[in-house]
């Protein structure tokens, strides 16, 4: 006899934004969630250590998300400028 004792559905995390895309912080938080999971049932010292690690991962990811977006914008600005649209390039540069 097969006994499927537990069939469960996990909880999703919904992240939203208004008037534009997700912020760098939201993206860094989502990436951190994928890398570090801190179990509610972990012993307190382990949990504390895991939270510290999670914060460090978040800060590093936040820095590189910032950098990636800035560098991507720089490439876009340059391409638009070269195509003869300096005003549009300036708007994007100021984002």
């Amino acid at each position: 006899m097969f006994d499927l004792s537990v069939a469960e559905v996990g909880a999703v995390n919904v992240v939203t934004s208004d008037n534009g895309g997700l912020s760098n912080d939201q993206i860094a938080e989502m990436a951190t969630n994928k890398i570090v999971y801190v179990s509610d049932s972990a012993p307190p010292p382990i949990k504390e250590q895991a939270h510290v690690f999670s914060d460090k991962v978040h800060n590093i990811l936040r820095y590189y998300v910032d950098l990636a977006r800035r560098e991507e914008r720089a490439t876009i600005v340059q391409t638009i400028k070269e195509a003869g649209h300096p005003d549009l390039a300036n708007i994007i540069r100021r984002l």
Partner: protein
């Protein structure tokens, strides 16, 4: 509650009948968003839970931005084992430039007659206004994966 998180009862039976294939290259699965409190298209309210058997249009949110009624295709990560627990996972799903208020979602099998898999309850209204609406799936392990069979 009009939207209650659950693995659909019909899905459990259909698993035994081989209706759903989560392997890479298997069936195509989609996720559709639903609203409560007359927030769905044409002021409808969703009723979703363990008794759901198939995709319904009542209570589904209206098309907006990159969200189109019927929902969007999920990218399967594939079925695997975490210890002795069978799990499956999907890539996160985003709808951009969308004005959406949703209370939950239905994952369904787009290949096999829109048969329901599970209902996701967001526990509160989640709203994007001319922005991004992202569903991030949980860690794919025996304790958290989106679909787990122990």
């Amino acid at each position: 509650m009009a939207i209650a998180q659950a693995m659909c009862s019909s899905f459990k039976k259909e698993l035994l009948e081989g209706t759903h294939n989560f392997a890479t290259g298997g069936n195509a699965f989609k996720l559709a968003l639903f609203a409560e409190g007359s927030g769905g298209k044409s002021s409808t309210t969703a009723t979703l839970g363990a008794a759901s058997t198939i995709l319904v249009t009542t209570g589904e949110v209206a098309s907006s931005g990159s969200y189109v009624t019927g929902g969007a295709a999920l990218t399967k990560v594939g079925a695997t084992l975490s210890g002795t627990t069978g799990i499956t996972d999907f890539a996160d799903l985003s709808f951009t430039t969308a004005t959406i208020t949703a209370m939950g979602a239905l994952i369904y099998n787009d290949t096999n007659g829109n048969k329901a898999v599970c209902v996701l309850d967001f526990t509160s209204n989640k709203t994007s206004t001319s922005g991004t609406f992202t569903i991030q799936f949980p860690t794919a392990d025996a304790s958290n994966a989106i679909i787990r069979i122990a």
